[in-house]
Symmetry: D2
Subunit: 224 residues, 4 copies
């Protein structure tokens, strides 16, 4: 059973199987951990159903966020232990001139309180970890992420955080296009919409990234 | 009924409704038409079920391609009539050094015949239309598309072609990030996997683009 | 007499004249003013010879900075009067992980005090003007500048600040590549090295931008 | 004596010396050779003075091109011997829609004959070497060069070809911004204007790249 098994049909999976999509890229020799948008604005202050969490922050994802944060914590510990690069991509506080198309499609994202922009304490950055403010979905778009990766000699990226169908997907497609080996631990990313979460995992697994449980990613990391 | 109505639940749609995702960007004053990857490699030689089409080209999408091509033809005629920019983004023939991560995740894409790279005759480019070879999913990535758009004074993009969950999605997210007004005519884009097609339309409609039938896009174009 | 007339020979200018380099792009219909790196780190606290200024900040340019700031002030007033976009691109405070190649080629840039990063008061930003922190020479590289320009519907850029042979040159070449009409007011940009200043103006005038005195740029602005 | 010694004054060099600009980046562990725009359009058919060569192709650089090509040939042989990546960045044939700002600043570049776009035979590419058509000065701008470099695991670039003050300079600044270790063999790059050639070498040596004779670069390569 994969996260998308109840949504994507066997016939559909069969097509990708027949044409051979979904090959493996592997973890690479020097992965970097990318933690995307794990701020109170997406997690809410505490675990609770999304229907409650959006009353705190309209951008919150509810319980799904906290389930993923528990997995990200395990990955973060392992990356720190191995002194591999850790990068926090996060949404920069919106200025009026940041509205653009985002202000039209998702106006609720323009008025988030300062608290919403703080990193979730359970997995907050420590000194020396790379902070990457961003203003668009992809962690690569309009940021110096590509330059940091060259400097860090990373050859692969482990993508975590949120949302699966938003910034994680956009960043993963860009990372793939830059020819980084991409891994998405399926239980360390989260979304507001379970169907989008599942189908974006399917899309990424088929075309752009290795998608697997955190447990298996940790095993590969241990073997580096 | 929207294309995703049988897959995305009412509860899920309700969350985006509550937080106000899915606002409208509008068509802009000077849209450009982007036709993505409408080559025989994705359409097959003639309309047929995808299970047959992939025997010609493993990357083919089958009947869905030809249904969309009929709609693209209408849009193309209108853009040409109004002398608005038309851009053909297409997959450049793969060289051995293009394998990279693509060669691992989707090895079938490396061995397509020359015929597969030809534009589908029904909507092939005419002199003066912009040809944009690309080597990665997004029509913006590693191409001068952004420069052409500035030169053409385009302020919005109408995205057509394939695949909805691949190059159309990647290009649409990038166009949104560049602050272009994005429109995706839902019946002028196509995919191999109906579930991915539908959920990617839902994601884009909610966050990145105005998604609507070609008929309505044509009405907006006529009113420019 | 042009700023480079004593350095570039008549024979050299003759070659570009013969092949027709140095054509005009014009100011466009909706220019944006870009003010690059006018922080105390490049201006020093007050006007003084560069040999003194570098004792305050190793990155300071001395008197040349303050001469240019007087011209930028005139341009800024006109852009504000006409409610045209104003963008402050500036060097973001360096973190240890920002060293990279910059830390090798120009190590002095890594240890600038907080004061050095402040905007020069004479032309500091006001509310609503776009702030663009950057970590590399070009104001486009690793920043969302391209997205802001699309949103602002700018079709041309007036480049000011410093250094002529560093960030101004890099940003101007990128703006040219994006197909923006580029103008460099020759007395509103500054450098540490007069020869580099002059020859970079010559290169830009010949290939990438319209280079002219601020006085003439102001006249074109008034005529918009 | 450096190539710029007769143009840049001792006082000017003294400023950079005082503030410590011009540090070394080194060659890295896995350099790629980038050969920029060495096509008949820049070299002319045979060695001759630039005043003659521009009668063949207005974009030609004359004798300087052929002097540099002799050096590039040595570097190319060494890169091939060591099976290190070789990348040919070259100007793609201009289409009418490519005019943009280039057609205004340098109109002569729009009408070059097909022959002009051919690679100079003395150092033409062999099978497996990366071909990178480009439409703007930098070899990175609007091209997938960054993706190829990640795939090739390159950590440094040796920049050759032309022009020193145009595409070589633009590509070198971008490569520096991406955090690649940049080397410019001063006698393997060429320009139309000796003063621009010299001062751009000075700028790059001071801020963006290690600039040294081909002979020394070959020694470093041999020691890898």
């Amino acid at each position: 059973m994969r996260p998308w098994s109840k949504i994507v049909s066997e016939d559909e999976e069969g097509i990708y199987k027949t044409i051979g999509f979904g090959g493996a890229s592997g973890l690479g020799r020097r992965p970097a951990l990318v933690i995307i948008d794990v701020q109170y604005r997406t997690a809410g202050e505490t675990p609770m159903p999304i229907s409650e969490a959006i009353k705190q922050f309209p951008s919150a994802c509810g319980q799904a966020a906290w389930d993923a944060i528990a997995q990200i914590k395990l990955l973060l510990a392992e990356f720190r232990r191995k002194k591999l690069p850790v990068i926090y991509a996060y949404v920069a506080k919106k200025e009026t001139y940041d509205a653009g198309r985002l202000g039209e499609k998702m106006p609720a994202l323009m008025g988030i309180s300062d608290r919403g922009y703080e990193f979730v304490k359970e997995i907050e950055p420590i000194a020396g970890e790379i902070l990457l403010p961003k203003r668009h979905p992809s962690a690569f778009f309009g940021t110096p992420l590509a330059s940091y990766l060259v400097d860090q000699r990373a050859d692969s990226l482990v993508m975590t955080g949120c949302t699966t169908s938003g910034c994680v997907r956009a960043s993963t497609v860009d990372g793939f296009a830059y020819n980084y080996r991409m891994t998405v631990p399926e239980d360390a990313v989260y979304d507001r919409i379970p169907t989008s979460h599942a189908v974006n995992l399917f899309d990424m697994a088929s075309k752009f990234a290795d998608v697997k449980p955190t447990k298996l990613v940790l095993e590969s990391l241990a073997a580096l």
